[in-house]
Amino acid sequence: MSWLIDPFTANEFLRQALFASVLVALLCAVTGTYVVLRGLSFVGDALAHGVIPGIATALLLGVSGVLGAAVSAAVMMTGVSIITRRSRLSGDTAIGLLFVGMLALGVIITSRSNTFTGDITRILFGELLGVRVSDLWWQLGALVAVGVIATISHRPFVLMSIDDGLARTSGFSVPFFHSLMLVLVGVTVIASFQSVGTLLVLGMLIAPAASGALVARRVSTMMLIAALYGVCASYLGLLASYHFDLAAGGSVVLTAVLLFVVTAAVRSIVVRRYVDEIPHQHEHRH
């Protein structure tokens, strides 16, 4: 059994990577569940990529990448809401426009600067094996913030994930809570990109939450399952990176996606059996 634990006890960098990855998993479990239920994957994707120019600029100016990412995310979210309000274009189109715009800006900044000391690979894939203790504190802070917002706004969020009208008739302002949900996504992306990168954070946001949505009906159960899946993916992914010599961030996210595939496959088998049994029940009743 030592091969399951020893890599982590012997190596501080792996321990810190595990902590970081678990924090990302918990953050993403909360936010990701709303993202999956409300169909915000595209916004999540757009935000995850839209922060690249901000991070690149921040690195150029020598300030924290988190700050740059926050500014970028704010610009994106404001842009999306302005375009959707002022034109007849759908939210989808607005998001797409800003997404590609920001991404293109990011590519230009990282490619043309003579002094660019950061590396686009590090922004996209993160440095999970180089996580600092200060990064962990940031992530913990973000987790607490997201947890508090989610607890307070749980009811409107759940109602909105069923139907906006339902939330409205219950007296909740849909635009406000929608924006609040986007803020959650933004905070999650910003807190996670340093460890798993902007490209892979989306995987952690969606894959465990999708698994949760697949097997549970209650939103809180979904979140719990998502958290469990995310933590498992973190641990198994890092273990795979250690034993099979794989890129760390990539193998964590791939594990999360594989767990979803396995869950979906098992579920479809179980559901088929269940459906098979239904006629029998009918016979018994009559």
Binding site: F13, N114, D119, T121, R122, L129, S241, A248
Partner: protein, 339 residues
């Protein structure tokens, strides 16, 4: 003392016209001052006025090769560098203007060996069309890396420093493109380059070639002298970049933060554990990083192994104004860190 032979490769920050003027000024200053005598102190640029001559362009992909080439084509051609100094050549993407420059160039010098991945397609196209591309990699003894046969990636690197090329192994095999890190490799390709340039521009470069050759030989000796003064030259690097240097000067590379010939890779936990083991076994005190090294990962490993991180300038000229100065600065930094 310090010659300013080739400010033209910094053209991106200056306008095209200004560059032309600067290049002319720089070249005229350099006429009397070969770059064979590098100094560590930089004097302010001299402002001697010189007639603006419209010289043809030699387009060079990287700034370090640009420095070598500009030593050779003094007064014959201007050197234009495509990949801005400070950018990682491993993941550089050209702009439309870069493509135009490459298409219009009378002569192109490229590193080759898959270094400039982003320029590969255009270079091949130009080479097929009229053959003015000089791939340095085709004119030197290419260094290859062997695939490791077991799981202990760098563990069986022996401590004998004489025999280096093959006794360390990495998990990524392939052709090593970092040829500019050995003046010997530059010496090797020099006659071919001089001949090709002389043919293209229809001039004699014999004198220039002799001068550059002797300055490279001096440089080679100086580096060898500096490195041989070390009790042992055992290196842990950012990615696998110092192979040519190590082979030439009797150093042993026992590991890398990113054991890959390119920087576009992500570290794996297994590699890092192997690296920690090797660092402990060989009592290494320094991890050398450079452009494209995952800095946070290097620092974490340094913290765990009680080593220090020293940044090297292996892909960029930074403050160096000549190839010799670039190589000596690199050597000095390595020697200082190891002694």
């Amino acid at each position: 003392m310090t010659p300013h032979t080739w400010p033209s490769w910094r053209r991106r920050s200056i306008g095209a016209l200004a560059t032309l003027t600067l290049a002319a000024v720089g070249l005229s200053c350099a006429d009397s001052e070969p770059t064979s005598q590098p100094t560590t102190t930089l004097s302010p640029p001299e402002t001697t006025l010189a007639p603006i001559v419209d010289l043809p362009d030699v387009v060079v992909t990287t700034s370090v090769l640009g420095a070598v080439v500009s030593d050779l084509v003094d007064g014959v051609a201007d050197v234009v560098v495509i990949i801005p100094d400070g950018q990682d050549p491993h993941d550089f993407a050209p702009s439309a203007r870069d493509l135009e420059r490459l298409n219009d160039a009378a002569f192109i010098v490229a590193n080759g060996l898959n270094l400039e991945v982003g320029l590969d397609a255009i270079l091949r196209q130009v080479a097929e069309r009229d053959g003015t591309v000089f791939f340095v990699g085709e004119h030197i003894t290419v260094r290859t890396m062997n695939e490791s046969d077991d799981d202990h990636d760098h563990a069986h690197a022996d401590d004998d420093t004489d025999d280096h090329a093959d006794d360390h192994s990495h998990d990524h095999d392939g052709i090593d493109p970092h040829l500019w890190l050995s003046p010997a490799a530059m010496l090797e390709m020099l006659p071919d380059l001089a001949e090709a340039l002389a043919t293209t521009f229809d001039v004699s470069l014999d004198d220039a070639a002799t001068r550059v050759s002797s300055s490279l030989t001096t440089l080679d000796r100086r580096i060898a002298g500096a490195v041989s003064a070390l009790p042992a030259c055992t290196l842990v690097t950012g990615h696998d970049e110092l192979g040519y240097f190590a082979d030439r000067y009797g150093c042993t590379i026992i590991g890398a933060v990113l054991p890959s010939l390119s920087t576009t890779a992500e570290a794996s936990a297994k590699q890092l554990v192997a690296l920690k083991k090797v660092i402990a076994e060989h009592r290494v005190a320094v991890i050398f990083t450079s452009l494209g090294t995952p800095q946070a990962v290097a620092e974490q490993i340094a913290r765990e192994t009680g080593t220090t991180v020293v940044e090297l300038s292996t892909h960029v000229m930074r403050d160096a104004v000549s190839y010799a100065e670039f190589m000596l600065a690199l050597t000095e930094r390595i020697v200082d860190a190891l002694s």
